[in-house]
């Protein structure tokens, strides 16, 4: 009889520890989502961080690690934007649901691709099973600047229907590139 009481306590301890972990992750995620620092604040932080650490050894990461990491990430990002022609002007995400192996986030994204601008909203469901992580897009909503063209609107509504975000970007990329070429050619002959 005593053993079952002990077991009951141990089970509760385990579930409480899990719940605490999830709650603190949720808190941190939301805290991060509502934070925003401007570019100047970031520059100032870089300078002050380097000054601070010159005075003595810092706690977690050395200044060179963090600033080097930031630089490398920024270089990668600007390379990708230049290479693909896709520039994201704003991105916000909100965690709707999070458990140990399931996370649902709502994303709002706007940007342009070779001068064609777009605005997107979608939900991303990530699930962890034994072997891998799966990612599924739902509730995709796309607004395109040149939405008047019937081809574009047909394409947009069919991609929205199937949640085909990847196809949207791949097609947008090639359409936008050729759109640019066509405009140049047209202007040339005007």
């Amino acid at each position: 009889m005593d053993n079952s009481i002990c077991q009951g306590y141990e089970d509760e301890i385990q579930s409480l520890e899990e719940e605490i972990k999830l709650l603190s992750e949720k808190y941190e995620d939301r805290q991060r989502e509502s934070t925003f620092f401007s570019d100047e604040e970031i520059q100032m932080s870089i300078k002050s961080f380097q000054r601070e650490s010159q005075g003595g050894s810092r706690g977690c990461e050395s200044p060179s690690d963090l600033t080097a990491q930031l630089e490398s990430l920024e270089t990668d990002l600007s390379f990708l934007m230049k290479f693909t022609g896709i520039q994201f002007t704003s991105h916000s995400k909100k965690t709707l649901e999070k458990t140990t192996n399931r996370a649902l986030q709502k994303h709002r994204l706007s940007g342009n691709c070779h001068s064609l601008s777009f605005q997107l909203e979608f939900q991303l469901l990530e699930m962890q099973n034994k072997e891998n992580v799966s990612a599924v897009i739902t509730d995709l909503s796309i607004i395109m600047e040149s939405g008047e063209s019937s081809d574009v609107s047909k394409f947009v509504s069919s991609t929205e229907e199937h949640g085909n975000l990847l196809k949207f970007f791949r097609s947008l990329s090639s359409y936008a590139e050729w759109h640019g070429h066509r405009r140049h050619t047209f202007l040339h002959f005007k």
Binding site: E17, S34, F36, I42, I46, T67, L70, T75, K167, R170
Partner: protein, 238 residues
């Protein structure tokens, strides 16, 4: 007689003492567990209150909320790093992402069928003296060399775009075949036969009507490697 009796009493006393110790240990363990449960419950309740308060604050205010306490420079940098990583993750969703390396670029081609993201493939490219593929994880039945010969030197974007089409189509065909096998296992007889490129599918299935069952054999040929829909379908009644 007496000695045996004494021994028996001693043994009994010993047993009682051992039992007493066990009971005490059990009680201590229970007390410890109880205390831990209380501690964790309190921690959990505190966190719940914190999260609820956070929710109320965020619903009340619109737009950016600046931290009341001045964050350290390290926290600001960590925030920026996380923010850039999030944007890089979005690039993963667009189908082509990557990272600069010492000698070139490592591209990642992601694939998806409708809204479900599937496998990703890597291409480690060197850029000097000319663009060449150093390593890759593209399966051998994808005509990578042929595509590279046509576009890699002249138009690298086109190269990636064509390769992405092939990979997405292959993964799309494979996914559809898997889904078919999974969701229609009752109607399909045996297993789906397919080649590695998943552009040839052969299977038998049955359609039941009242008491009769009709066996069919299907052959699906996907002639266009950049397409995940068949170009030729042959259905025959066996």
């Amino acid at each position: 007689g007496v000695l045996a009796h004494l021994e028996m009493l001693e043994a009994r006393a010993h047993q009682a003492a051992v039992k007493q110790e066990e009971v005490e240990q059990q009680e201590q363990k229970l007390a410890r567990l109880q205390a831990r449960v209380q501690e964790l419950r309190a921690q959990r309740d505190e966190l719940r209150a914190k999260v609820d308060l956070q929710e109320k604050e965020q619903l009340g205010k619109e737009g950016a909320v600046s931290n009341p306490a001045q964050p350290s420079a390290q926290a600001v940098l960590e925030w920026k790093i996380k923010s850039i990583k999030a944007t890089l993750q979005i690039f993963y969703l667009t189908g082509i992402s990557g990272k600069l390396t010492k000698r070139g670029v490592c591209f990642c081609i992601s694939t998806a069928y409708e809204g479900t993201y599937l496998d990703s493939y890597y291409l480690d490219l060197l850029t000097k003296p000319e663009v060449q593929i150093h390593r890759h994880s593209v399966p051998i039945f994808i005509p990578l060399e042929q595509i590279a010969r046509s576009y890699l030197q002249t138009d690298i974007r086109r190269f990636l775009s064509v390769l992405s089409e092939h990979l997405n189509a292959y993964v799309g065909r494979r996914y559809q075949a898997d889904q078919l096998q999974e969701h229609f296992s009752e109607q399909i007889e045996g297993t789906l036969q397919r080649n590695s490129l998943c552009n040839l599918l052969v299977f038998n299935y049955k359609v039941s009507n009242k008491s009769k069952t009709f066996p069919f054999k299907v052959r699906l040929l996907y002639g266009d490697l950049c397409c995940s829909l068949p170009t030729e379908v042959i259905v025959s009644c066996t």
